[in-house]
């Protein structure tokens, strides 16, 4: 087998803009992430009412995936059970943790809510994406100080090598307050080198991540 892993697409949502495969598709002027994300949702004519119930981390991961997979017809080519989602970030679910903490910090105004609490786990964004795209395969959420491209490539290469996935969505989805940065890669196997399609290597992922 002479197959290699390639990045067949990537989507970045950061700095008030949406970029797909190095092409800027949208730029917003909103200061708050909640408003910016609603702007993205409307611009790309997404129709998914559950979006409005999601916390900000899930909205960010959901929108990045929506735009990335929307153009790639992945669900038509791979079984959901052979598709993986591997995400990483720095502050886990701290953005929503602060909201839950606020709801319990005052005993005279105590209102913990299950619809907030469920999002105090970072992997719930993976669950939201799985529901939307009928993905049932391998998932994992890693927390690290900075984006570690070498780790991502090592781990995901092993998933492909062991035939655990045929296709993988992976990358960085970070949000705390209005600081957000989402860079997701679509990784597939190719038998031969195709012009314009980059190999899935740490240096390539790193340079896409740093280009802003």
């Amino acid at each position: 087998m002479n197959e290699q892993l390639v990045i067949t697409g990537y989507c970045c949502i950061r700095d008030n803009a949406v970029e797909l495969d190095s092409e800027q598709l949208y730029r917003g002027s909103e200061h708050l992430f909640s408003e910016f994300s609603t702007g993205v949702y409307r611009h790309f004519s997404v129709n998914y009412p559950k979006f409005h119930k999601m916390d900000n981390l899930s909205r960010l991961g959901f929108l990045t995936t929506e735009i990335l997979l929307g153009k790639k017809n992945v669900s038509g080519r791979y079984e959901g059970s052979q598709t993986g989602i591997i995400l990483m970030n720095s502050s886990s679910s701290l953005d929503t943790d602060r909201n839950h903490q606020k709801a319990i910090s005052d005993r005279s105004d105590y209102f913990p809510s299950p619809s907030v609490f469920v999002y105090t786990l970072p992997n719930v964004v993976i669950g939201e994406i799985c529901i939307r795209h009928k993905i049932t395969g391998e998932g994992n959420f890693f927390v690290m100080k900075d984006f570690n491209a070498a780790f991502m490539v090592s781990y995901i290469s092993q998933l492909f090598y062991c035939d655990i996935v045929e296709c993988c969505l992976a990358g960085w989805t970070e949000i705390l307050g209005n600081d957000y940065n989402s860079v997701l890669f679509l990784i597939e196997k190719r038998k031969e080198t195709v012009e314009g399609i980059a190999n899935f290597e740490p240096s390539v992922a790193e340079s896409i991540f740093k280009r802003r």
Binding site: G80, S81, I85, S90, S91, S92, L94, D97, R98, H100, Q101, K102, I104, S105, R107, Y110, P112, S113, P114, F117, V118, T120, L121, P122, N123, V124, I126, G127, E128, C130, I131, H133, K134, I135, T136, G137, E138, G139, N140, F141, F142, V143, M144, K145, N148, F151, S154, Y155, S157, Q158, L159, Y161, C162, I164, L176
Partner: protein, 380 residues
Amino acid sequence: MTDIYVSACNIITPLGFTTGENAKSILSGITGIRLHEDPAISPEPFHASLIDTVSLDENFSVLGNPVDYSRFEKMAVLSINDVIKNTGIGIHGNRTLFILSTTKGNIDLLGSKPGGQAQPTDVYLWHTAQKIQKHFGFLNEPIVVSHACISGIQAIITGSRLIRGGFYDHVIINGTDIITEFVYSGFSSFKSLSTGPCRPFDKSRDGLSLGEGSGTMILSVSKDDSEKRPVTVGHGFSTNDANHISGPSRTGEGLYLAISKLTDREPDYPGFISAHGTATPYNDEMESIAITRAGMQDIPVNSLKGYWGHTLGAAGVLESIMSIWSLINGVVPATLGFTEMGVTNPLNITRSSIKVSTGKCLKIASGFGGCNAVTSFSVQ
């Protein structure tokens, strides 16, 4: 497939600060769950399995100044220290990775500043992992796995994959979680907490009991010669129900898929299954459906939640260690709290401790976000 050995396991819970102490209490039917009155966690008295702070600090004081470490860090450092003390494997080189498995880390420190809006670096999970890494002088930057209630199994699966891929020779896995007002209030708002000690798979089960714990194991390409009966870790898979973020699939779809992926590669049946068995009505029902669909309804199944409660991100590590203990010693504990079958697909739930002859077990778990995971362990 490369053999990956599991060795030098430690468990810290209210039942003891070593695996041996925990196993002894469990086989005697002792539980760590009791009624607590602690307004810092809950306005009402509550059942949980909590580690005594005084005894934690006493034990920790030989390793460092208790005021320099958080409750979470003290538990993790004590557990890892016990493993390092007892292992025959050289883990201090650059071929070792430390993986921390946790859902919430030092989340108690989030509320320690007025208004709860402060975010000291201590609440970042990577910062906690780095602090533990520096305590022991591990060379590589640690990785945190935070994947709800399957975190522990995910950490074990991740570690074994990284070793099989040749990226590391040894992986130290620690799973830790503490019980805080943050966690208690959340599970309470979900109405998932039991009124008394939890009763896995029982007809009268009404929810889970929360528990604190820390567990550590070493995964390695090397066999630890000090272990009389070497244990290896098999394949592992995680799946997603793609159905609901806070409720398990009614058909057990994701868990069944995970078990099927494993049995496709390891057709030999296990001698027992260590279930997630949280004692919530939905979880246990879902597990019974998935296990039955996999044709494993006659295989002995146990849940350890009746002894330790649900230890969240530590659960997969603690319960795997106890399962490994069972493989080595040939005894699977009773499912404490279980008396009458309470799932529609009856399983072979252990009512008392039983002997096992086959040297293999499955460890399964499911969690929020629709996630499921499975791995296997075998004794040689």
